[in-house]
């Protein structure tokens, strides 16, 4: 006996089917030059998939990716230059990207540093443990705030005074320390037009056969 009858569900909601939908297939807004260049660089580096949970810093990049996809969709369908996959959590995103690499693709992950903290065991147990040359494009929440307050978020100080201050964002102060603890090499991109940063991150990941974080301490607006 079956718990439920074998029942294919062709339509989940009358008139609507969300499966497979690209939520940014026809996105509003203009693509910025910085984000357009960044996407071009990803494409030139052979990236096939961007697995992401968006934030405000990555939004222009995702808009540029969606515009490229929507422009080419009719002509190329599933052969879009870079496919965007939205995940629900960062550990899931990294495991998914590891699976993409297992299958022969060349993914990157695009997440915020807060999400990186969530991803600990997903990163350890998949990309790191498997030796996946995965570049973790990680936006830097809290860095501008710290600088505005005259505090260096990378000085290694994570005392209670830092953790509870409402005029600081504690994640900025934990980012480098966390990456060091997890054995993830990292570098910064402080200028969106600095293509060398991106190239170096990919080169290091390939050479060392492990994940590398590229911290996007910049704006793509």
């Amino acid at each position: 006996m079956r718990l439920h009858p074998t029942q294919p569900l062709a339509v989940r909601r009358p008139g609507k089917s969300f499966a497979g939908m690209n939520p940014m297939a026809d996105p509003p807004g203009e693509v910025t030059l910085a984000s357009s260049r960044f996407v071009t660089l990803l494409s030139e580096l052979g990236v096939t998939h961007v697995v992401t949970i968006p934030d405000n810093t990555s939004a222009p990049i995702l808009l540029a990716l969606a515009k490229v996809s929507s422009r080419t969709e009719e002509a190329q369908g599933e052969d879009d230059p870079i496919r965007v996959v939205y995940a629900t959590r960062e550990g899931e995103a990294i495991a998914l990207a590891s699976g993409l690499w297992l299958g022969g693709a060349h993914p990157v992950v695009l997440i915020q540093n807060t999400g990186l903290l969530e991803a600990g065991d997903g990163l350890r147990g998949t990309a790191s443990r498997m030796g996946v040359p995965l570049v973790l494009l990680t936006t830097c929440r809290g860095y501008p705030k710290a600088r505005a307050m005259g505090v260096d978020p990378t000085d290694g100080t994570i005392g209670r005074d830092i953790l509870v201050r409402s005029d600081l964002d504690s994640v900025a102060h934990m980012t480098e320390a966390t990456l060091r603890a997890w054995g993830i090499p990292f570098m910064y991109m402080g200028d969106p037009s600095d293509s060398g940063c991106l190239t170096n991150a990919f080169k290091l990941a390939q050479e060392e056969k492990r994940p590398v974080a590229l911290l996007l301490d910049t704006s793509f607006e």
Binding site: T6, T88, G99, L102, D121
Partner: protein, 197 residues
């Protein structure tokens, strides 16, 4: 409830060149029945991420069927993956969730909500277009060819007898070939195998 043999034997009979990703209590039984270079054990890995890993393989290889044999405890750990799979529209992914209601390899402790969870219902609600559910072997074997041919993502919930597998290791002492190498070495071998076909 199905035994592991009742679940896996028909699958080994029908399987040709599909990818099969396993985890936890089903890892050894599958490895004993099947020696195939497109088997991948999500062992010595991160619990809860087997379905995510399988989705990635499916998206990278859209013309090849990918079968994921996930546990119910593992599925609960990354339940959002149901939405990600449905949203990504991985037509070639068949996600089995083996519902034994326990964390088998740590001694059969109950999973949260054991006995009251409706995994097929969750899959439907997440947007899976094809959902199957079995709690006895009646009908399972007959439906399997259709399940493997269906345009997915396909979800298959299977009520399972609790087993007694201990923790899965990766070492030469393991009988299954796909457990005899490190996770990193297995990953490289699998990638080479799938990209050379």
């Amino acid at each position: 409830m199905l035994t592991k043999d009742q679940l896996l034997r028909p699958l080994t009979d029908l399987r040709t060149d599909e990818v099969v990703v396993t985890c936890m209590g089903v890892t050894r039984p599958w490895g004993r029945m099947s020696d195939h270079d497109l088997n991948f054990a999500s062992a010595d890995s991160a619990m809860g991420h087997t379905a995510d890993l399988a989705l990635g393989i499916a998206l990278a290889q859209p013309s090849r069927k990918v079968i994921c044999l996930n546990g119910d405890g593992s599925m609960l750990m990354s339940l959002g993956a149901l939405a990600t799979i449905a949203g990504a529209g991985a037509r070639n992914l068949v996600l089995f969730v083996l519902e034994n209601g326990v964390y088998e390899i740590t001694g059969n402790q109950p999973i949260p909500g054991a006995g009251g969870l409706d995994f097929p219902g969750m899959a439907r609600a997440a947007g899976f277009p094809m959902v199957y559910s079995f709690n006895r072997d009646v009908g399972y074997e007959a439906a399997l060819p259709e399940i493997l041919k269906a345009q997915g993502p396909v979800f298959v919930g299977v009520g399972m007898e609790p087993g007694s597998e201990g923790p899965v290791s990766r070492s030469s002492r393991e009988e299954a070939r796909y457990l005899q190498n490190s996770l990193a070495a297995s990953a490289v071998e699998f990638r080479e195998a799938i990209t050379s076909r």
